[in-house]
Amino acid sequence: MEQGLVSEDGKNARAVLCQRCGCKVLSAGVATLAKRELLLPSMKKTSLAENSEQECELLIEHWLVHDMFTFDNVGFSKDVGSIKFLVCADCEVGPIGWHNLKEQNSFYVALDRVHHE
């Protein structure tokens, strides 16, 4: 993991931004680092991919918040089973994160899918 991302108390030392448009997803110091194996559909998608099976990527490191209003800006996808994927609120690039409707108070943003200020 990149140095200086996590503060001493396990929070995000820097603000979390959209990789593509720079829209602020989380302010600094509001999310905790959580390790959990989550499958997120690939961000890169060609026109071919629509016909083939959606490629997924296993991601382990995430910023975890417990209240959706902690986000500065974020979009929630429609339900995919019991999952809502998180996308950038501005350019809608994603998925950048994961929320299971069965775990009401957990919202994950994958470190690999975002930039840090």
């Binding site: 593509r20 448009c21 602020k24 302010s27 509001v30 998608k45 629509e50 959706m68 209003f69 902690t70 986000f71 500065d72 800006n73 974020v74 979009g75 929630f76 996808s77 429609k78 339900d79 995919v80 809502k84 994927f85 996308v87 609120a89 501005d90 350019c91 809608e92 690039v93 994603g94 998925p95």
Partner: protein, 266 residues
């Protein structure tokens, strides 16, 4: 068009003083307030409703996105967005719901209505049938929405002036029949009026929220603190005397208010 003369919503938005509007706090909510300062001053839920094809989704997109890129959109589709805006120096967290595609599922949408502080009702000014649907939407609002919710009627697709079927006057007339309903025409396509629509709605909601706080603090303090609280416009001013306890403002008004921390939890 609603045929009833002088049609009014039960408990119009001009009435800020109904006793039921003060936020009743439970023990759990009071405890929650003792968490560290949240980055947002206000949290508001706004829903966008209207008949199919009037442009609800484009209104949401235009507000939340000035750099729209079709290619990058997720295929699943966005359900709702959390957006932070700043208005008069305050950070406001908006939760914006677009009800597109859910017009038929009353049981699902009723939950959206109940929690909405702002409702944007959209019609397409080039399709008279979407205007004729408005009374149907008003019935849903009356049935499910909070009486306190701010209402805004939007005639969308102003960019299609040539195909206009509903005049601006017709829209105005409809809005006038409903207490507290605002009206404007907009174009999500060229972003005309869209930012203004949302900010105006937020502004109206905030004014109402302030009234609710005043009313609440009045009740809890027997009125003695009211004048001081009224001058305290900034929601996060610190109590100079007892900063540790000022979070209890909602439970019992702090005795040394020269300015107190007012935590809004809507």
């Amino acid at each position: 068009m609603d045929p009833r003369p002088g049609y009014q919503r039960a408990g119009g938005s001009s009435n800020h003083h109904s006793a039921s509007s003060s936020p009743a706090l439970t023990g759990a909510q009071a405890r929650r307030r003792k968490q560290p300062l949240r980055p947002a001053d206000f949290k508001l839920q706004v829903i966008i409703i209207g008949s199919r094809g009037v442009g609800k989704t484009s209104l949401m997109e235009r507000f939340t996105d000035d750099t729209f890129c079709e290619a990058c959109k997720s295929t699943v589709g966005v359900d709702f967005k959390i957006k932070t805006v700043e208005l008069r120096g305050k950070k406001i967290r908006l939760q914006i719901w677009d009800t597109a595609g859910q017009e038929r599922f009353n049981s699902i949408t009723s939950a959206y209505y109940r929690s909405a502080k702002g409702i944007i009702l959209v019609y397409d000014l080039t399709k008279s049938e979407t205007f004729e649907d408005l009374p149907k939407w008003m019935k849903m609002i009356d049935k499910y929405a909070s009486e306190e919710a701010e209402l805004l009627l939007v005639g969308n697709k102003l960019d299609c002036e040539i195909d206009r079927e509903i005049t601006k006057q017709q829209g105005e007339k409809f809005a006038q029949q409903i207490t507290g309903m605002r009206f404007c025409e907009a174009s999500a396509k060229d972003n005309f009026n869209v930012d203004e629509i949302f900010l105006k709605l937020v502004d109206d909601i905030l004014k109402k929220v302030k009234m609710t706080i005043l009313q609440f603090t009045w009740e809890r303090s027997n009125g003695s603190m009211l004048s001081k609280i009224m001058t305290n416009d900034a929601p996060h001013t610190k109590c100079e005397t007892c900063s540790a306890k000022c979070m209890e403002l909602y439970i019992a008004v702090c005795r040394h208010i020269k300015g107190a921390v007012i935590y809004l939890f809507i």
